[in-house]
Symmetry: C2
Subunit: 193 residues, 2 copies
């Protein structure tokens, strides 16, 4: 690419990121059903047709917003979202972003239908997340930091399960502490005295 | 009530239950979005207008189906859904009813929006469920069956959290064992050797 093409490319990336930020705000405030591409385009000050240069439709836009949230979480934690000790911190971060957290909870549940556009995204994400946490657990067990009477795979399922399940409790009752629940499950997994 | 009125009343109850059974099947197969009152009425062999004698709309019908599922679960376990040892069995039951389980997972997430018709149903249900499990935990701790270095409230949040979270993992990957996850968390809560 020449310098001019590179500049155009970089500008496109930057523009896309800005659109994702705006879309995340709209999804968070209006929910998936209440969000329209028209509304996102209006907030971004562009025509709806222009939005289609970047995203093929509303479900594609949602998937892009969710993937971008993963990337940002990952960047915040030095490229790894899933060091075990980071979980309470991620939960704390999510408590400060209730709209996106609710969006994620609703999207991950509705996308369990195989015909949902975000189905493959979530299936792949769970498989990757569970595999990563499982490896972290196995390492922590080898270092004597996690009790060894539970299989790494089962422990990973519990941690990720508590993360998703406590989110729901928190959405119904904001007095719920998500970081405390994550800390509790990690404490139960500590080697027995 | 005279005998005739009683007969009519009993018939109405029976008819309502039958409609809930049919609606549950339609919701399970079509999802909330795909379900229409017209379709439910067709399957029941009645007019859509007749359905409105029993339910005020689709969200009311959904709430009634969910409440009926709770009642049936409760009846199966001698009137109490939440004896701790019952959780793996309830998860096993849910694995045999994937459609209703998916419906429940999606409905509990989408109803986190305060304007959703099932919001109050789920908020009340979580509050009741967490309170009941918390009391069960406290009793089990007093009997020396659950470790005492975790508050009953926190343990209740973990069990209910794992129940909801593992459901999602199972919906994306049917190789997931929900009963095994519930057994794992109960094992972690056992008194330390």
């Amino acid at each position: 690419m020449g310098t001019k093409a590179q500049g155009t490319y970089a500008k496109g990336i930057e523009r896309r990121r800005e659109l994702l930020r705006i879309a995340a705000e709209v999804f968070a405030a209006e929910g998936f059903e209440g969000t329209t591409l028209k509304l996102v385009a209006e907030r971004a000050g562009i025509k709806e047709a222009t939005l289609f240069h970047y995203f093929s439709g509303k479900q594609d836009l949602l998937t892009a917003v969710l993937a971008d949230r993963d990337e940002q979480n990952s960047a915040q934690h030095g490229g790894s979202v899933t060091s075990l000790a980071d979980f309470p911190g991620i939960a704390e971060h999510n408590e400060r972003h209730p709209g996106l957290t609710a969006l994620f909870a609703v999207a991950s549940a509705t996308a369990t239908r195989p015909d949902h556009a975000a189905h493959d995204y979530f299936r792949t994400r769970y498989s990757w997340l569970l595999g990563t946490v499982e490896r972290d657990i196995a390492g922590a067990q080898a270092r004597g930091e996690i009790r060894t009477d539970i299989a790494p795979e089962d422990a990973a399922r519990l941690i990720v399960g508590v993360f998703d399940g406590i989110q729901l409790q928190w959405l119904y009752d904001p007095a719920t502490s998500m970081p405390a629940a994550l800390s509790s499950v990690l404490r139960l997994l500590a080697p027995q005295g």
